[in-house]
Symmetry: C2
Subunit: 225 residues, 2 copies
């Protein structure tokens, strides 16, 4: 079975790179990577240790993040984060309001990635951006009532800083909606995509760092799920 390797992959990486000094949510453990074997010091190979909060960079939130007896990230059904997704763009530079969401005719079972003004600039900063575009409670209720399967956002939380984080997380997680936070959607235009987002399989993890990629749905791939 020869495999054609000449064609370029059209997968687009929407993950944030992990590196020392990168931004993290205030109070969360920072990302740290250090060499424990180092060839430049004469070791036979390079080998590193990482330390990080599970909600740094691109990551998945499981129900257990805000629900004491909720599912862990290791119990996430793979279909929650592998399959068709839609990137919608929100123009409001303060918050994601139901009025604007309504225009997108969101359907039951959709995986929705929300591109906001965040993607234009927040990931360029190693300092935490307090006034990122967030999801207000009313918009969380709107998406939960629509019955989406997944919501992805382009900064570190679905809720705003020092405003509604607990409530917004609970609305989604109690509705059984899986969350991807920390996406970099700067290279992605609104439209239909195939999404793959795979979090580390941490047993009873209330969240986990993840890698996420998308690929535009073309006519030839239009039947794929």
């Amino acid at each position: 079975m020869p495999i054609r390797t000449g064609l370029q992959s059209s997968w687009i990486d929407v993950s944030v790179a992990l590196r020392n000094g990168m931004v993290h949510w205030p109070g969360d453990p920072p990302f740290e990577c250090e060499r424990v074997h180092d060839m430049s010091l004469g070791d036979a190979n390079n080998l590193s240790r990482i330390r990080m909060g599970t909600h740094s960079g691109t990551h998945v939130d499981a129900p257990l993040h805000f629900i004491a007896d909720g599912k862990g990230v290791d119990e996430m059904p793979l279909k929650a984060t592998i399959g068709r997704a839609r990137v919608i763009e929100i123009s409001d530079t303060t918050s994601i309001k139901p009025r604007e969401l309504r225009q997108h005719r969101i359907q039951r079972g959709e995986r929705i990635l929300i591109k906001t003004d965040n993607s234009r600039w927040v990931w360029k900063s190693d300092s935490f951006v307090e006034d990122f575009v967030y999801i207000p409670k009313e918009a969380a209720y709107f998406l939960a009532e629509r019955g989406v399967m997944l919501v992805g956002v382009d900064y570190l939380s679905v809720g705003g800083y020092k405003c509604n984080g607990s409530e917004v997380h609970r609305i989604f997680l109690e509705a059984g909606i899986w969350l991807i936070e920390g996406l970099d959607l700067s290279l992605v235009t609104p439209g239909k995509y195939e999404l793959i987002c795979l979090p580390l399989k941490i047993v009873k993890g209330e969240g986990a760092p993840a890698r996420a990629v998308v690929r535009p749905v073309t006519a030839a791939r239009g039947h794929r799920r």
Copy 2:
């Protein structure tokens, strides 16, 4: 665009679960996960910190692991670990020999996942298994000469314990072959699959923990790459 959510996903998780006390390569940092916020102690949410070696559990090896100026895992082309793959089964319970590999008519550009006797038992142990089935030098040269794109193995290293680790890694990595180590192939039968393996995007990481899933290639999906 309604999405059919009723069908079960047929993705099979071939990742090892990450948990405290799990096995790791002797001398490598262990996997540790601890709650830094804990609802059972009155906190508003659960939130964890992880610490781990980058070569624990299911992970990708980048050239930089054994080549001082090699590529980091953040430079891995996504097609290395997303696309058609073949699971081949090796019956030799000591090592993966060229004689047995030859029977599988391995072609240039293939992604090859090697299921050995390891998958039957090694992941059941939290203690390191020293006598796992490994790749000898001759077999590494054989696969490198065939020009495969990716090799995946079902325990923590392509090379054996205290025998040929550095050499075998170098043969693969100098040939530009990406490696997945730490796969659990116990639920997978030999054959053709779609593979998705996504490592964390660690800048200049010589490796990174990853999540990996496979799905059998059916007749209806036979055209997919």
